[in-house]
């Protein structure tokens, strides 16, 4: 009840344009200290207070944040904008923003974040909301038919080849770079991954990698531990850190019970997901395929020859095939959304590769029932790693080979080149983008269900999260899995080449046939490689090689 009252108050307050000054009226006291409306007098606050304040909106453990919370966060984060833009400076400017409506997040979240910005600057933003499944097609078709009708776009880094590669994006001005403090980005998001052909276009609002999520209750369960030993398995009953162990545990768990329910091991999404499903095979394969001495793992950079049918990838596919029978019955029809949200967060399965938002969702989302029993780590490694140049499996002196999969690299906000001619519009568009990619606002976004993960060094300050209400052990464990993935020296970076999702999409079709038992792993992988060669030839091999190298900063 109190919370509802609080939301209503927020809604009323934020609707007033003069919200900034003195909005913390008499009602504050009634709402209690935890909501602390005093934060509306933001400029006076020291940075850390502001951040702490922000993280208490609405507070961890009270369910998903609402519209009013987003607006409040947007209001609190307005400081850097005020330093560079005078009030009403953009009056009369209209911008069109294209992005996702992903379960009323993303664009809706941005609306909330940007409402106070609009009120302050006087600009107006029109919104194009796309369902995620339409996103790629709509973007490509707009570009191809010359119907780009948006000034700002929320876009995944893998599409940079299609947009920046065609000169459609506006280059980031220096003041934006300062405003968003780009030096704070985690290492892998800096150049070259943060740039395209040496220029910066992206305001990162997200960092993406797959990490390893597991159920702590499984690996502390005494019955399972006893059974594990009884069946003569090697080593103690513990969280696997190599894929070899993941395989063993998954097979072991078939037919076991935990808490009266069927136990399951690792969850593979066996159904395609508009290209996104391929990342999950990638997460299994990187430890085998990404050799520390070689930046490439998906293609040969010099020839664009696919590596997807080399022994490392085939072994990953075979691993999936070996455990299909140990997974839940309808797994052949499970896509990553199913494995993540309908299975893992809902309590089925004990191990999962996913983007980091499963972790923040585990605690803060309404969908989760496993908040207290999830643990995190970087993706499992492998005892041996395939060396593409020699064709041998190497065993490294340093121990198992880990290669976290930087899948998707993250969402960014981009300004389109069509605003370049109009300096006011240009400034307005970049100011909006910078607001969304701000240092403080992004902390909030990574702490609450937003679809975005931590991506700045400043996001890994544990006390801030604890102050927001996160359990210290939980959040330390979670952030470590993220930070260790991002900063891993052997991270597998996704090639940002045009049409990368075409490759994934074709691969999903062929993988579906393999998983349905129509081909063995090697034949299926050869089919994928053949299909990829066709795509490369169609898009233009020389171009692809050049752009691939550009994306690697070579």
């Amino acid at each position: 009840m109190k919370r509802e009252l609080y939301n209503k108050m927020m809604a009323m307050q934020a609707s007033r344009r003069s919200v900034l000054k003195g909005a913390a009226g008499a009602s504050v006291a009634a709402l209690g200290a935890s909501t602390a409306l005093g934060a509306f007098t933001a400029p006076a606050f020291a940075a850390s207070d502001l951040r702490a304040e922000m993280l208490k909106v609405p507070g961890v453990g009270v369910g998903s944040p609402t519209d009013a919370d987003w607006r409040k966060v947007g209001e609190l984060a307005l400081g850097p904008t005020k330093d560079r833009v005078s009030e009403g400076e953009f009056a009369g400017v209209e911008l069109t923003f294209m992005g996702l409506n992903n379960q009323n997040l993303h664009n809706f979240l941005f609306r909330g974040f940007l409402k106070p910005w609009e009120a302050y600057t006087g600009a107006k933003i029109n919104w194009i909301d796309l369902a995620q499944s339409d996103y790629n097609a709509r973007l490509q078709q707009s570009i191809a038919t010359g119907t780009v009708d948006f000034d700002i776009i929320e876009m995944g880094a893998p599409f940079e080849g299609d947009v920046a590669g065609k000169g459609l994006a506006s280059e980031m001005p220096d003041w934006v770079r300062e405003q968003i403090d780009m030096d704070d980005y985690v290492d892998y998001l800096k150049a070259p991954v943060g740039t395209w052909a040496g220029k910066t276009y992206r305001v990162s609002i997200d960092g993406d990698c797959h990490n390893f999520n597991y159920r702590t209750d499984y690996f502390t369960d005494e019955d399972l531990a006893a059974a594990w030993t009884d069946e003569g398995n090697d080593g103690p009953w513990e969280v696997p850190t190599t894929w070899q162990k993941v395989q063993a545990v998954t097979k072991f768990l078939k037919g076991k019970k935990i808490g009266g329910q069927d136990a399951n091991g690792y969850l593979d999404p066996l159904k395609g997901w508009g290209g996104f499903g391929f990342y999950f095979l990638g997460s299994r394969a990187t430890a085998y395929a990404k050799h520390p001495d070689d930046p490439n793992w998906l293609f040969d950079a010099d020839t664009m020859k696919p590596r997807v049918n080399n022994p490392a990838w085939v072994r990953a596919i075979q691993d999936v095939l070996d455990t299909i029978d140990s997974q839940p019955p309808d797994q052949i029809n499970a896509d990553p959304g199913t494995t993540g949200f309908q299975q893992f967060l809902a309590g089925t399965g004990s191990m999962l590769s996913w983007w980091g938002d499963i972790g923040s969702n585990a605690k803060t989302s309404d969908s989760s029932v496993v908040g207290d029993v999830v643990g995190f780590d970087i993706l499992p490694g492998s005892d041996d790693v395939y060396n593409a140049s020699t064709g041998n499996w190497d065993t490294l002196a340093s121990g198992p080979n880990h290669a976290p999969n930087m899948a998707y690299i993250g969402w960014g906000v981009y300004v389109m080149a069509r605003v370049d001619g109009d300096s006011l519009k240009h400034k307005a568009a970049w100011s909006a983008a910078a607001h969304l990619g701000g240092k403080d606002i992004s902390l909030w976004a990574s702490a609450y269900p937003s679809g975005f993960q931590p991506y700045r060094n400043s996001h890994f300050n544990i006390p801030e999260w604890v102050g927001a209400g996160y359990d210290e052990a939980f959040i330390t464990n979670y952030l470590a899995s993220q930070a260790n993935s991002y900063n891993h020296p052997n991270a597998a970076i996704e090639p940002r080449i045009p049409g990368i999702f075409q490759y994934y999409s074709v691969a999903e079709d062929e993988l579906a046939k393999i998983y349905a038992g129509q081909f063995d792993a090697q034949t299926g992988a050869d089919n994928i490689a053949a299909a990829w060669e066709k795509i490369t030839d169609q898009i233009g091999r020389d171009n692809q090689i050049a752009l691939y190298k550009a994306s690697l900063g070579l």
Binding site: T66, D67, T96, N101, Q103, G112, S133, S142, P336, A346
Partner: protein, 306 residues
């Protein structure tokens, strides 16, 4: 199947066949079975909009017994009792799209009904020769417009609408939706007009009415129920259209189905929100259906009014 005719003759009790009672049981048994089949998924959708995550994944069925209903789905749209008076971006979005959906679907269904009825009457009554095309060919020409998967019309329409400045406009959406339902209206209405005896037309013509006079004064009133039914079917189809809506609209003419589809994505799925949206989207259609049900019955049945 035999049931029907037994019924028809059962009007006078004296005529009741010996197995009358058994027949009644069978009829109502079948009716109730199918009612369950038809309504259970809708009940499931409606109840899901009041469930929290656990209740969805556990498949709980009965409110207050299996699960404690809450306003979750509706709150996420700003339509629950506690949020209805607050500010809500999703609700603004929902209402805007809702209105757009009404404008485009009603507009296109009306246009299709007008164009389609005229064409259907012509094809039903007169013999045309249009180059090599006869009546059947013209009819086939219309229905062949239905066949192409809308996906591949994406680029052509994008280009066409860009040239004509129809992207993201009501007229643009109305035109393309009209195109998609026009063939259906023509086929349905031609069947309708075919069942109206031509003697009616001829008598009116003898009385001195023109063909258009006959159409508007005699035929339309008789066929009105059928037209209403065709209208409803068109309305439903255009109301739920997705591909073109996703492609050809941006900020002005955006419609509801895209928002429904947006409830899934890389952050899983908001069951409750999607259920609430689906329920809210079906509601106006259901109301139209209930209001115009008598037309659906007599509907499409010009003959009944003879």
């Amino acid at each position: 199947m035999a049931i029907t005719f037994d019924d028809k003759y059962a009007e006078s009790k004296a005529n009741r066949p010996p197995n009358y009672a058994l027949m009644r049981v069978l009829i109502y048994g079948a009716l109730l079975t199918w009612t369950f089949v038809a309504l259970f998924p809708l009940y499931w959708t409606l109840s899901t909009s009041f469930k929290s995550a656990v209740d969805v994944t556990q498949g709980n069925l009965i409110p207050w017994i299996d699960f404690q209903p809450n306003w979750k789905g509706w709150r996420s749209l700003g339509l629950s009792p506690d949020t209805i008076f607050g500010i809500s971006t999703p609700r603004d979005e929902f209402i805007g799209r809702f209105i757009n959906s009404i404008i485009t679907s009603v507009g296109s269904s009306m246009l299709a009904l007008i164009l389609g009825s005229l064409a259907a009457y012509g094809l039903s009554r007169f013999t045309y020769k249009f180059g090599f095309m006869r009546n059947d060919d013209i009819l086939f020409f219309f229905i062949s417009q239905l066949i192409l998967p809308p996906v591949v019309l994406a680029l052509p329409f994008l280009v066409l609408y860009k040239f004509l400045a129809l992207l993201d406009t009501y007229p643009g959406m109305i035109f393309i939706y009209t195109l998609t339902v026009l063939p259906i209206v023509i086929w349905i209405m031609r069947d309708q007009f075919n069942t109206i005896p031509r003697e009616l037309d001829e008598a009116a013509l003898v009385d001195g009415l023109s063909h258009w006079g006959v159409f508007f004064r005699i035929i339309v009133p008789i066929a009105m129920p059928g037209m209403v039914a065709a209208f409803i079917l068109s309305l439903i189809l255009t109301w739920n259209e997705y591909y073109f809506a996703a492609l050809l609209t941006s900020t002005n003419a955006k419609t509801l189905p895209v928002m429904v589809a947006s409830q899934t994505g890389s952050q899983g799925i908001s069951w409750w929100t999607m259920a609430a949206l689906s329920t809210a989207a079906i509601a106006p259609l259901a109301i139209v259906g209930i209001m115009l049900e008598r037309y659906i019955i007599k509907g499409l049945t010009a003959g009944a009014v003879k």
